[in-house]
């Protein structure tokens, strides 16, 4: 099937305005009659919940956290982009649009990206009005810095805690509506299934994590803002609980999953220290503004970094990408790190590490300036590794970080299931095959504050919805299926823990579907994953009870879905027989090792339709047309 993204006609600069005018409105008195379920309280979910409640809709919000403020968005460090051009360095909406399309290696929908760049400035205005304490100049004006993949300074930040401050802004806006009884908030409640009635998304089935109670909720529309699936790799920079269940369950109910193989490996993370490792810690990309990345010139050089003289060092990013240097985009910087480590020049106990060195910056700017800019990151590094980065270079290595893939949505952020809207990292829409730094926060808030509130109204105004209650047979059936799934998990009585299976799955995915991929490996993984899944369903152990707070069962439910989802990711990686952005197929590279796109055959979104566990899903395409940013080889040299 050829998918229709429902992109409005007309010049790209006018599409969104024109569309806003053409969309049907719901009158204030009628808004009260519509109920919207939102799953997730990260930047996307919280901003949407607040905005929709302010408009007058009835909103019901769900999160598995004990407080909405703990959503994974809280961990974002570096910053948020906008096209304000405050530094007068040549930025514009057009340039942010251009950089994002190019950064995504021409696998995003142009019209969505342009709209994102357009609303980026409103986001900064909104956040400042909410009291987000962005960094400021002495003059009192807002400060900016540069970030990977950009040659100018368009990133707004609040120390190394930008995500925290933006989320607290959205969270407080949302809590204000909770206090006004416009939002009903369910914490510690995990969505386990999507309710679809006559082809339309009408509700969710949830498990209360404190009591184990399975419940159902119905509404006029469902919004998923449930974040990304990097934890399919087991080790990633994501929080422990991040998982794919919400979007994967929607996929099993008929929603198409787009570009699942587009995953981002972040170049600057603290390397793994042992088998006990539970997560990888990101060192903000902003460090690459002042840190220089290098490895020894010669393989096997075991000297301490401070003892290796200049002439024996290879500042490989500066050498290979002179115009961007240490600020080369993430996919490029990550692969370059892998390449030098594969050549035997990696450092640290495992050989999987490269140096990020601040000694030149400290010489140039003084320790105090560096401390002001990165103090908290340096402290965090020292706490984790025991090394002091003021004295010896940091050691870093790439790690899974962000997922560009997600549920397919049209221009209105609605999936192919009417009524099911998907926002934030959970959808696939704006970043193509690679996301630029500081653009995820921008997208989450754009979706929640400034896009969904308009488009969801149009959906209500143009759709006739039958009345449903939780007594509907489809609702009861869905609840029963969830209960049966849990019963089945509880009764396996095997010998391995959910974490053991998760760790094994992560290794398979990292080895065969990680930073670089090839046909042979992907085919091998397509044999290994189903085997592991079979073992899971016959040899899993869960202790404790179903009707109680049960951390083992929670984990088992999430791992069960990862074990199915992984196969989908592998199919996508195998069928996308080209390299682009974060998806690097070894068969497709230029002689110098750069990714080689195949625009003739793959200039499209791949959106997958579920056909049963273990069956190959059906691959649909949405062709991508580049009218404004001409398709070119992406060069950062």
């Amino acid at each position: 099937m050829i998918l229709d993204g429902k992109v409005p006609t007309g010049p790209i600069t006018e599409k969104w305005d024109k569309h806003r005018f053409e969309m049907k409105l719901v009158s204030p008195a009628n808004k009260r009659k519509y109920k919207i379920i939102i799953v997730g309280t990260g930047l996307a979910g919280a901003s949407a919940a607040a905005s929709l409640a302010e408009l007058g809709y009835q909103v019901e919000v769900f999160t598995y956290h004990d407080s909405p403020r703990r959503a994974h968005s809280i961990a974002a460090q570096g910053g948020i982009n906008a096209a304000k051009n405050y530094p007068n360095d040549g930025d514009s909406i057009w340039r942010l649009f251009y950089d994002t399309v190019k950064g995504g290696d021409f696998r995003a929908r142009e019209s969505n990206v342009y709209r994102l760049a357009q609303v980026s400035n409103n986001i900064i205005d909104q956040c400042v009005a909410q009291g987000v304490p962005f960094a400021r100049e002495y003059s009192g004006y807002l400060a900016n810095r540069s970030f990977g993949g950009a040659q100018l300074s368009r990133t707004f930040y609040a120390r190394g805690q930008t995500g925290q401050q933006l989320l607290l802004g959205a969270y407080s806006a949302m809590m204000r509506q909770v206090g006004l009884n416009k939002i009903v908030l369910h914490t510690k409640t995990e969505m386990l299934d999507l309710i679809v009635i006559n082809g339309i998304a009408r509700g969710v089935v949830t498990r209360n994590l404190l009591t184990g109670k399975i419940e159902s909720y119905v509404a006029d529309a469902v919004v998923l803002a449930t974040g990304g699936y990097s934890n399919v790799f087991y080790l990633s920079t994501n929080a422990q609980a991040c998982n794919v269940t919400a979007t994967y369950r929607a996929y099993k109910r008929g929603a198409f999953f787009a570009n699942p193989c587009f995953t981002q490996i972040h170049p600057t993370c603290i390397p793994q220290s042992g088998e006990h490792q539970s997560k990888l810690t990101l060192m903000s990309e902003s460090l690459r503004n002042d840190g220089r990345v290098w490895v020894p010139k010669n393989p096997g050089d075991k000297r301490k970094p401070t003892e290796i003289p200049e002439e024996d060092r290879d500042y490989y990013l500066e050498r290979m990408y002179p115009s961007y240097g240490n600020l080369a985009p993430r996919d490029i910087a990550s692969r370059a790190a892998k390449r030098v480590c594969d050549e035997g020049r990696g450092v640290g106990p495992t050989g999987n590490g490269v140096y990020l060195d601040f000694s030149d910056a400290i010489k140039r700017l003084g320790k105090k300036v560096i401390e002001e800019r990165y103090g908290n990151l340096f402290e965090m590094y020292e706490r984790i590794t025991g090394d002091n980065p003021y004295e010896t270079p940091m050691m870093i290595y790439p790690a899974p970080h962000y997922t560009m893939g997600g549920l397919w949505v049209d221009y209105n952020l609605m999936s192919n299931i009417p009524g099911l809207h998907v926002i934030g990292e959970a959808n696939f829409s704006d970043h193509g095959a690679n996301r630029l730094g500081a653009s995820a926060l921008m997208q989450g808030l754009a979706d929640g504050y400034f896009i969904l509130p308009y488009t969801i109204g149009h959906y209500f105004a143009t759709t006739k919805l039958e009345k449903v209650t939780t007594d509907h047979p489809e609702v009861k059936k869905c609840v029963q299926e969830v209960q049966e799934r849990i019963k089945k998990l509880m009764s396996i009585n095997g010998k391995k823990t959910p974490t053991q299976f998760h760790r094994e799955l992560g290794k398979i995915m990292w080895n065969y579907c990680g930073m670089s991929r090839n046909e042979e490996g992907l085919k091998k993984a397509l044999e290994l994953v189903p085997k592991l899944r079979d073992e899971f369903w016959s040899n899993l152990t869960i202790v404790g009870e179903e009707g109680d707070l049960n951390i083992v069962l929670e984990k088992a439910l999430r791992v069960a879905d990862f074990l199915e989802f992984a196969e989908l990711m592998l199919w996508d990686a195998l069928e996308r027989n080209e390299s682009c952005g974060g998806h690097f197929r070894e068969e497709h590279q230029y002689p110098d090792g750069e990714a080689k796109r195949d625009d003739e055959n793959f200039c499209h979104v791949a959106a997958w339709e579920y056909t049963g566990i273990g069956n190959k899903p059906i691959r649909h395409v949405e062709p991508l047309v580049f009218e404004y940013v001409p398709l070119t080889v992406r060069s950062y040299k």
Partner: protein, 258 residues
């Protein structure tokens, strides 16, 4: 290294809790405290026993989910550090470690080491915001904030809402948490219009939720993983006093009577 852990186990809010002792061999220096508990939990599951329930998520010291009172100190011995960022290199072979939930009247135990901190959300809901709707905002640079004020606002705003301040306080007061939010907005021009109402409503909710009073022990600052200063409590007290004699207060009383 080898460690002896005494961990608080409690089936649910109403059950009586007790310490159970676990011996941990082969603890590695590079492990985080929670990774050590992960290892214990994996062992317990394989022995068919219920693992120790504890709250955690980001493991980067920012989400505020992790808690634990370690050897009597919320978040353990290292200053300015959450439990998830505490690493085992801070302990030594043969150590005995006592692990309890955060203890406070306003934070009932849910299970084992997990406590209910929803009172914090209710305080924010009562007034921890600026009442601006989406779409109302003026151009960002039309609001100037002196760098010093922005920095101080950020010092206060970086609170992660973990509740260590409450657990550390002999009275179980939430003054530092509330003061941090009140001060964050008090230092910004955007926060001025609602300044009085905000402090009145937040303090009132704090009292309703069963938090104790402040008697200047300053244990809160010492336990705060973000080292938020008690000077913000002084600011809040001043603001509260001023607000108590304001039109906002009379209006609040009128509304409550109506």
């Amino acid at each position: 290294m080898k460690l002896t852990l005494h961990i608080w186990r409690q089936k649910n809010t109403n059950a009586k809790g007790h310490f159970e002792t676990y011996i941990m061999d082969n603890v590695i220096e590079d492990m985080s405290f929670l990774e050590m508990l992960d290892v214990l939990n994996e062992r317990l599951i394989l022995e068919g026993k219920e693992p120790v329930a504890f709250d955690h998520d980001c493991r980067e010291g920012i989400c505020g989910a992790c808690s634990l009172t370690i050897n009597g100190i919320p978040h353990g011995p290292e200053k300015g550090t959450t439990t998830c960022q505490l690493h085992m290199r801070k302990f030594k072979d043969g150590d005995e470690i006592w692990i309890e939930p955060f203890r406070a009247r306003a934070f009932p135990v849910i299970k084992d080491l997990i406590v209910d901190r929803s009172a914090f959300d209710r305080i924010i809901q009562a007034g921890g915001f600026i009442s601006v709707n989406t779409g109302q905002a003026p151009e960002a640079n039309s609001i100037l904030v002196p760098k010093k004020n922005a920095d101080t606002a950020m010092d206060a705003a970086q609170c992660i809402g973990c509740g260590a301040c409450v657990a550390a306080c002999p009275n179980g007061a939430a003054m530092l948490f509330v003061a941090a939010k009140v001060s964050h907005f008090a230092y910004l021009p955007q926060g001025q219009p609602e300044r009085k109402l905000r402090v009145l409503k937040m303090v009132e909710q704090m009292q309703k939720d069963g938090f104790g009073n402040c008697s200047n022990y300053y244990e809160c600052e010492a336990a705060c993983p973000k080292q938020i200063s008690v000077k913000f409590i002084a600011l809040m007290n001043r603001d509260y006093l001023k607000a108590s004699f304001s039109d906002e207060k009379s209006e609040l009383i009128r509304n409550q009577l109506a």
